[in-house]
Symmetry: C2
Subunit: 287 residues, 2 copies
């Protein structure tokens, strides 16, 4: 683990996120990494989508030819990973003066032993320079994290929920599934737990913590799963370091629910009100 | 040209969009297509980004193994195409029961004759079924297209602007570059010109017609170019057919402008108020 701004001085144990993102470079092919799914980030029928996105970003960050910091990442969930070993392939297909374009995939042996693509991705890394800058979506005025109660994942909930501290402000998961929903907007304070200094990989996973918008909009719990997610990184490594172990304000909203798929827009600010990332995803839902 | 819902009965001449999207299947490799840049969609130093997105989608639509209709498309502009021939490679890397995952690239011979990747992309196609559906971002109440004046591209403007009829409602391109900008929201009615029945390829190009948000936000015309765009398709082929040659209401807004890159969110409705697509992009800007 050579990358990330993670300082391990605060704890002698490895953080679960860093355990999950441990990738071993293959000696036979540049950009090929071997990893293992982590039980701590298990979802219903595969890993939490955010940890898969973070794993792909981790491969880029470890790649010896990387130029710059993450700018955009798109991950397509082609098939669920099964528990166990997987291979990440990260290829910088074009390197310009200040941007670099990546194609990635995750491969895993199928039932017949043949390698199957479970995940495809593209990414852009970039050398950022200071320019005129402005935020055009100010952070909503909400109560500070200390005033909001952290939710406790119910018994039998999926395991990855225990890796995040979530302090909902508005639009959290319905208490009753009575079909009464009338909006799809969620706001919550969130961070890794145990706490861990923020970096690009943690940020990419945090962009995917929101429960399916269709559950909120319908107050009905139907099967749902992300098909494709895109994260745009606005923060510099220094801004992530300055955020440290503080909370992020996450805001998620659905725009259109139609014929089995809805989209979700996401904004992530730190407590100081700096927009760190924006994200979008398209999600399958049943019925 | 086997795909698209384009009816050519209204005109004997081929529409410029269909000319631009003409791809010839290679006899040597499935999913490999030869195309030519089209002068009618030329931008400053390469083709209009929307036509490149549409070209990649066209390759998917022509592919003999395609399952379903477009659901999501992400295009990364790694390098400008030069005028002339190019090759599209479209590969369905995983086909599930109702979704199919694609990786794509555009290749062009560089100065030294070697093939260079100019563009990478991923896409998902899906078989859609009717389900519970709802729009959570209603179309803004705006005056109808007939009440808005169409803009005329100024002499010397980039050529692709002449391929679109645009009737701005709010937030159009500043008349004076005096640094007075205070928002990044644009609303306009738009369609292909000459008029052409809407289909998936036309829709994907229309998602990219907005001038750079940084020009509006700053009232300053700095160099800018899309790095990566994602389009989520919400409409069925039937809804596109029903939209016909009508206008789309396009709405675009920047969220964060920081250190050389800003993001843009886009919504596209037809005149009946149906959300046809949502889109996002991350855009380079100078200074």
């Amino acid at each position: 683990m050579t990358s990330s701004s993670h300082s391990s001085s605060s704890s002698s144990a490895t953080h679960p996120l860093d355990e999950a993102l441990q990738l071993t470079a293959s000696s036979s092919a540049t950009g090929q990494y071997e990893g293992q799914t982590h039980p701590g980030y298990w979802n219903m029928v595969g890993p939490f989508g955010g940890i898969t996105a973070a794993t792909l970003l981790q491969a880029i960050l470890q790649h010896p030819d990387r130029l710059g910091d993450p700018l955009s990442l798109t991950v397509n969930y082609a098939g669920a990973l099964t528990a166990g070993a997987f291979t990440v392939q990260a290829t910088p297909v074009r390197t310009n003066r200040s941007t670099q374009h990546w194609t990635l995939s995750i491969l895993q042996a199928g039932a017949d032993g043949a390698q199957m693509v479970t995940t495809t991705a593209t990414a852009v890394t970039a050398v950022r320079r200071e320019t005129w800058s402005v935020g055009d979506v100010p952070m909503p005025q909400v109560p500070p994290p200390a005033e909001q109660k952290a939710i406790v994942a119910p018994l039998g909930a999926v395991e990855w929920l225990n890796r995040y501290e979530m302090r909902p402000i508005a639009g959290f998961i319905p208490r009753t599934w009575d079909g009464s929903g009338d909006h799809s907007l969620t706001q919550l304070w969130m961070r890794d737990t145990p706490s861990r200094p923020l970096d690009f990989v943690a940020l990419s996973a945090l962009a995917d913590v929101f429960f399916p918008r269709v559950w909120l909009r319908r107050a009905r719990q139907v099967p749902a799963g992300t098909v494709s997610i895109t994260v745009y990184f606005h923060a510099t490594a220094e801004q992530l370091q300055a955020t440290g172990t503080g909370f992020l304000l996450g805001q998620a909203r659905g725009q259109e629910f139609r014929n089995g798929f809805f989209d979700q827009t996401v904004q992530l600010w730190n407590e100081a009100g700096t927009m760190l990332a924006t994200s979008h995803q398209i999600v399958y839902y049943k019925e």
